[in-house]
């Protein structure tokens, strides 16, 4: 299965990319597995996608948690805490 990844703000800058397509094993997955795959790339992924850093995840434009399910074609956004207004 494939998901479209979007990064915003400081994470976009640190990862050096705004978006990518990522292939995940199987037909279904979870946010936690996606994050694991990214962390295995090493720094800065492993540093920023850790419990020490309060990153947020949205699946199809809705805030999601680590156990949220993922399916083929989902849009997954990873970003720092928001600071608008």
């Amino acid at each position: 299965m494939k998901v479209k990844l979007l990064y915003f703000a400081s994470l976009r800058e640190r990862f050096g990319t705004a978006e990518e397509i990522l292939e995940l094993p199987g037909e279904q997955s979870r946010v936690a597995m996606l994050v694991d795959v990214l962390r295995q790339r090493g720094a800065p992924w492993s540093e920023l996608l850790s419990v020490d850093y309060p990153y947020r995840v949205a699946v199809n434009q809705e805030l999601a948690g680590l156990i949220s399910p993922l399916k083929d074609g989902d849009e997954v956004a990873i970003f720092p805490p928001v600071t608008g207004g």
């Binding site: 915003f8 703000a9 309060p54 809705e62 956004a77 805490p81 928001v82 600071t83 608008g84 207004g85």
Partner: protein, 152 residues
Amino acid sequence: MKIIVQEHDFDVGQELAAVAAGDLGVGGLASFVGRVRAGDAGHDVASMTLEHYPAMTQKVLEALVAEAAQRWQVRDATVIHRVGRLAAGEQIVLVAVASAHRGDAFAACEFIMDILKTRAPFWKKEQTPAGESWVEARGSDDVAVERWQPIE
């Protein structure tokens, strides 16, 4: 209801005149305009750049206004949030709520601002003499949100 994210500035007078225009059932219009603050002593902010996640922003803002309209009597509302580069003193956001009574207008307006700050996917980067840096989320914003939790 009018919910817009845009780069260009907005005219507060025009926007407020348009909220519930001609609706004779409106008794009060509460509004808030957020501006780029030049910062505090030793931390001069010349400008900021606002980034957002367009597909999500619109959804979140619409859900937020709908939630306010469920909790309070809202006859009309406008939310405008700017993105892009904004100099100190420039307007960032406008939230305006028209209601029959002032208590509803104030509460819904402040609710939308408080929740927007912690839920709408906007990010600010400040430009100061020392360089650029991303603004960190503030704990006080989470505190502001907590008081709107429904009482069980």
